[in-house]
């Protein structure tokens, strides 16, 4: 996980590519609030805007993720294993 926490060149803020949706949208709201307040200087405003774009893209990614993962617990030899669920229970 440490490798993924690369800092962006300008802002020193953490990488947005692994943020869960909840955090990304919260940070996006924060960026928008900052820009709307107008208290940032021009350089900082542009950096904030770029970060806002990255966060917004991350949120869209999460919203559009459609890949399903449906598994079942199976008892085998005294152990509990996780297996993908076959057939039954997968409409769409």
């Amino acid at each position: 996980m440490a490798a993924r926490k690369a800092k962006s060149a300008d802002s020193g803020a953490p990488d947005t590519s692994a943020l869960p949706f909840e955090e990304a949208i919260e940070q996006l709201e924060h960026v928008v609030d900052q820009l709307e307040d107008g208290a940032l200087d021009l350089e900082a405003s542009l950096v904030a805007f770029e970060r806002g774009v990255a966060l917004s893209r991350r949120c869209s990614e999460q919203l559009d993720a459609a890949e399903r993962r449906i598994e079942v617990l199976v008892e085998a030899g005294g152990e509990t294993l996780v297996r993908p669920l076959q057939g039954e229970g997968d409409p769409d």
């Binding site: 928008v32 107008g38 399903r68 617990l73 509990t80 996780v82 997968d90």
Partner: protein, 460 residues
């Protein structure tokens, strides 16, 4: 024992005398054979539950009472507990308890009067577990808004599972689901459900569990009204959503769970956010982001534009005009000054010569003096000219530094239209394809405009 065949005749010396035991034995057989099984209704009291599992109580109504015995094997089949004060229907065999000479009912089946046995059992269990605090509101936990992994406790073949999978696919398809399969009705199902629940809450990342099954009768749903299931739910380290049966069915599992849903689909909806609704929210945030950024830049662009407008007054093109004019005027004045001065000097020399000539002194001395005077004058003029020249050079140098030409030397260029010579400042002054002349420091460049793009100071 054979019962007495004939009553003893009064006065006869022959009597048939029975022992108490014999009498009771005989009466017992009489009772058992002649009555058999009957349904009796009454209220329970004086309940005594023996350690061996047998129950003894009194069944009474306004007219009388009778002792009852419910033996262990029959008691085990009861879904509810025997209590005092219950109105019951008993299927019983009247008999005599010989040891005490008491009439008693041997109870074979028990039904609550007024409500079903299961309902009674439900009420009894609910009261008992509620008293333990297992259903307290304060124990209910909030659900995670974006669960990392959802556990499902239900039957693998049932519609409930398909419903949950379908609904979750609509709401937030990328959330992993983990099924912990179990029977959801029948004898012993409650123990399987409890075990399945305990197994799934241990799995990594599971932060909410749905316990669901479709609709059914009270008997079908009964396993969700049992102590093992309630305790497993109450003891879960993660929040539980129960969705058992139809809208109106309320189970003890529902009371123990952190959240109750009317159906399995509703349970899935409680557990997952609706991505369509969030998509709208995201669009709104994106719009605000763009507007805010544009607003910030527009504000700054305005300030920059005002500054540039002020600068333009001082800008090279305006200054060039002004400087050129000043330079020309200064040069004219300077040469005029120099000219006039030379003229004045010439005049003075001429007059001096004329005066000298008029006085006619010794020509040799005069000529020597004249020559000397001329030489002095020449050098004076020369010195004067040098001085002027030096001053001119200085002035010129100073003018140069102010001159637009020096500005050009710093890299600025002046572009004019070829046809009118009008200085080009903006897209309104020149079009693509038109000719222009560019004055740079040391050249005039004939050029043709390829494209004209307005400089928009609001982007960087």
């Amino acid at each position: 024992m054979t019962p007495p065949e004939q009553p003893v005749e009064a006065g006869s010396r022959e009597r048939r005398v029975y022992s108490v035991g014999d009498l009771l034995r005989g009466l017992r057989a009489l009772v058992e054979d002649s009555v058999g099984r009957v349904w009796v209704a009454g209220e329970t009291s004086n309940l005594y539950a023996a350690q061996a599992g047998h129950h003894y109580f009194t069944l009474k109504d306004g007219d009388g009472q009778i002792r009852c015995a419910l033996f262990r094997n029959d008691a085990r089949r009861l879904p509810f507990e025997l209590e005092n004060g219950l109105e019951l229907l008993l299927l019983a065999e009247p008999s005599i308890y010989e040891v005490r000479g008491e009439l008693q009912l041997i109870v074979r089946e028990v039904e609550p009067r007024g409500e079903g046995a299961l309902q009674l059992a439900f009420e009894q269990l609910r009261r008992r577990l509620e008293a333990e605090g297992l259903f307290d509101e304060s124990l209910k936990r909030p659900l995670p808004t974006h669960p990392r992994r959802i556990g499902l406790v239900t039957s693998p073949g049932a519609a409930a599972l398909r419903d949950v999978i379908q609904v979750s696919g609509r709401r937030w398809p990328s959330t992993p689901l983990l099924l912990s399969p179990t029977r959801v009705q029948g004898d012993g199902a409650e123990l399987e459900i409890a075990a399945a629940l305990r197994r799934v809450v241990e799995q990594p990342e599971v932060d909410v569990v749905l316990v669901v099954r479709g609709g059914g009768s009270l008997e079908d749903l009964w396993c969700f009204n049992t102590e093992p299931v309630v305790r497993a739910i109450a003891g879960s380290p993660v929040p539980i959503v129960s969705g058992v049966g139809h809208e109106t069915d309320f189970s003890l599992a529902d009371l123990a769970a952190d959240h109750r849903a009317p159906t399995p689909s509703a349970a899935a909806m409680l557990a997952l956010p609706d991505r369509e609704a969030l998509r709208d929210g995201l669009s709104a945030a994106q719009q605000r982001l763009l507007s805010a950024a544009r607003g910030t830049l527009a504000g700054r662009a305005e300030r920059l534009e005002r500054g540039l407008a002020a600068l333009r007054v001082l800008a090279p093109s305006a200054r060039l005009h002004a400087q050129q004019g000043r330079l020309r005027a200064a040069r004219r004045a300077l040469w005029r000054a120099v000219e006039t001065d030379r003229g004045t000097r010439r005049l003075r020399v001429q007059r001096a010569v004329e005066r000298l000539s008029a006085r006619r002194p010794s020509t040799d001395a005069f000529r020597a003096r004249e020559a000397a005077a001329r030489r002095a004058l020449s050098s004076a003029i020369a010195r004067n000219l040098e001085g002027r020249g030096a001053r001119l050079a200085t002035l010129a140098a100073r003018l140069d530094s102010l001159s637009p030409l020096a500005v050009l030397g710093r890299g600025y260029a002046v572009a004019r239209r070829s046809d009118t010579g009008r200085i080009i400042e903006g897209p309104e002054d020149i079009e693509a394809g038109e000719s222009l002349v560019v004055r740079v420091a040391r050249a005039h460049v004939e050029a043709k405009a390829i494209s004209v793009d307005p400089v928009d100071d609001s982007t960087t």
